[in-house]
């Protein structure tokens, strides 16, 4: 995929996808003129197969399959360095958010599952408890990702320091949160929101 020739035509360049990204991120994809400053300052660029500028370039050409297939978008740390320094006010961090959202929706073909899993569990925690339950988050992640012993050495120490709580009190107004989740879902079903 990465090296495969691009056949450009109005059909292969998904401008609808670009519009979606622009709507979600509220930033212009086409403003980018490929100066490369985003990639120059990205702390995560070395971990990505498409550095940020190339993600932008592929996006400009409507080549979303190539972008979403890679793990690049999941390796974005949301550190906002790119957005801060872009000469064209391209809010690349927001574009990354939009891409992850669209990948998530499309049950994207990304190879990166750990980050996605962590995100999923985090959001589940919010809807179940209202607030984060760090202990549970870590434990469930380790179970689901099959890394039972990950960070086991840290556990007792943190527990001793009072940094891990065995129980989490649910918010009294938890239903309000759950309503937010369900209203958003409903809006999306109706096509009122992306």
């Amino acid at each position: 995929m990465k090296k495969k020739k691009m056949l450009l035509s109005q059909e292969t360049m998904d401008t609808g996808f670009i519009r979606k990204v622009e709507t979600l991120s509220d930033t212009s994809v086409r403003s980018c003129f490929q100066c490369g400053k985003c990639s120059a300052g990205c702390p995560m660029a070395t971990f990505m197969e498409h550095p940020p500028n190339r993600v932008m370039r592929l996006l400009q050409l409507g080549q979303w399959q190539r972008v979403l297939a890679g793990r690049s978008i999941w390796y974005c740390a949301s550190c906002e360095t790119c957005s801060t320094r872009c000469p064209n006010k391209v809010h690349l961090a927001s574009i990354m958010d939009a891409l992850r959202k669209l990948s998530w929706d499309a049950e994207g073909p990304s190879k990166e599952s750990y980050v996605q899993l962590a995100n999923k569990l985090f959001l589940q925690n919010i809807s179940s408890y209202g607030r984060q339950y760090e202990m549970r988050l870590a434990a469930v992640f380790n179970v689901k990702s099959g890394q039972f012993l990950k960070d086991m050495m840290l556990g007792p120490k943190l527990f001793a320091k009072g940094k891990l709580k065995m129980f989490q009190r649910k918010n009294k107004n938890l239903t309000e949160i759950q309503k937010i989740f369900s209203r958003i879902e409903e809006m999306r079903k109706k096509g009122e929101a992306l």
């Binding site: 509220d26 740390a77 360095t81 958010d97 750990y114 996605q116 992640f141 937010i180």
Partner: protein, 293 residues
């Protein structure tokens, strides 16, 4: 200026869990400085990075809900966690700029969005609302001789026009606050670099690499300790410091303080009021050496 500063307080999830000492020291410090904090009742998680990462609408809605809840309490909203601060500020910024998103969010929370209230990080309250002069006047045990590396991380200052805490590329607010407390600060290269907090669960290897570079830079600059304003940064720098030393065969031994802990020390609070015992890298030898304990 009103003598008693009053704030609604949004601690965020971490301060009720792994960063309990940040919560403790914040409350103790503010009461010592005569600043009133009232915790927002039944606040929710802001959604943090994972929420905006995959579902911005959810993230905005969660924060908007929290802003709505904060309206119940008198005063601006004081936020301790850099991530919560960033998300709340982002929400205000986005909803002010984008009417479509604002309407969607109002629908999700089933309430009008309120953007009038000010969201302030603790640093802002200390440096601006209280003022550095008054802060300095409250100092009884100056942190003389302590060389502090102030670590901002990503979200306190970035991106331009959103947090508006300080210059996004060359901030000085942390340095000014801790210098008011009598400490020395060091100039170092990695104070704005990312620690990779988002991956602390999923990809710890990444975190180790990024955080090591930060510790290395602070050490090279001659710092005695690091000061942070974010529980996520703290987690990586403090909790994982031993592991990093092992992996990279390095020796840092840099205690990582929350800003409220250091300022708290300077106004004469006791170690147990500041939760110093909860720190993984033991600060006691350093503080003793500097005559601060």
């Amino acid at each position: 200026m009103n003598d008693t500063l009053k704030y609604a307080y949004y601690p965020g999830c971490s301060l009720h869990a792994s960063a309990g000492e940040y919560d403790l020291s914040t409350r103790e410090l503010f009461s010592a400085l005569g600043i009133s904090l009232t915790e927002v009742p039944d606040w929710f998680c802001c959604g943090a990075t994972p929420a905006h990462n995959v579902d911005e609408l959810l993230s905005l809605s969660l924060c908007a809900k929290n802003l709505e809840l904060a309206e119940q309490v008198e005063g601006d909203l004081a936020v301790a966690c850099a991530s919560c601060f960033s998300r709340l500020k982002f929400t205000q910024h986005t909803l002010e700029e984008n009417a479509t998103k604002r309407k969607q969010v109002e629908k999700a929370i089933d309430a009008p969005v309120k953007l009038d209230g000010k969201v302030k990080h603790l640093l802002e309250i200390l440096a601006k609302d209280l003022g550095l002069e008054r802060l300095a006047a409250s100092v009884s045990k100056p942190l003389a001789g302590l060389k502090v590396a102030c670590y901002y991380g990503c979200l306190l200052t970035r991106p331009t026009d959103v947090p508006n805490l300080d210059c996004p590329e060359a901030p000085t607010i942390m340095e000014r606050v801790v210098e008011a407390s009598g400490a020395e600060t060091v100039a170092w290269t990695h104070r704005l670099e990312c620690c990779g907090a988002n991956f602390t669960l999923s990809r710890p290897g990444v975190v180790l690499q990024l955080t090591n570079a930060i510790l290395d830079s602070a050490k090279a600059a001659g710092a005695d300790c690091i000061m942070v304003g974010c529980p996520l940064c703290h987690g990586n720098l403090d909790i994982r410091q031993k592991e990093i030393e092992n992996v990279y065969s390095a020796e840092y031994n840099l205690p990582v303080f929350y800003l409220t802990q250091l300022v708290g020390l300077s106004v004469g609070l006791a170690p147990d009021q500041l939760g110093l015992n909860a720190m993984i890298v033991n600060p006691t030898p350093l503080l003793k050496e500097k005559g601060l304990l």
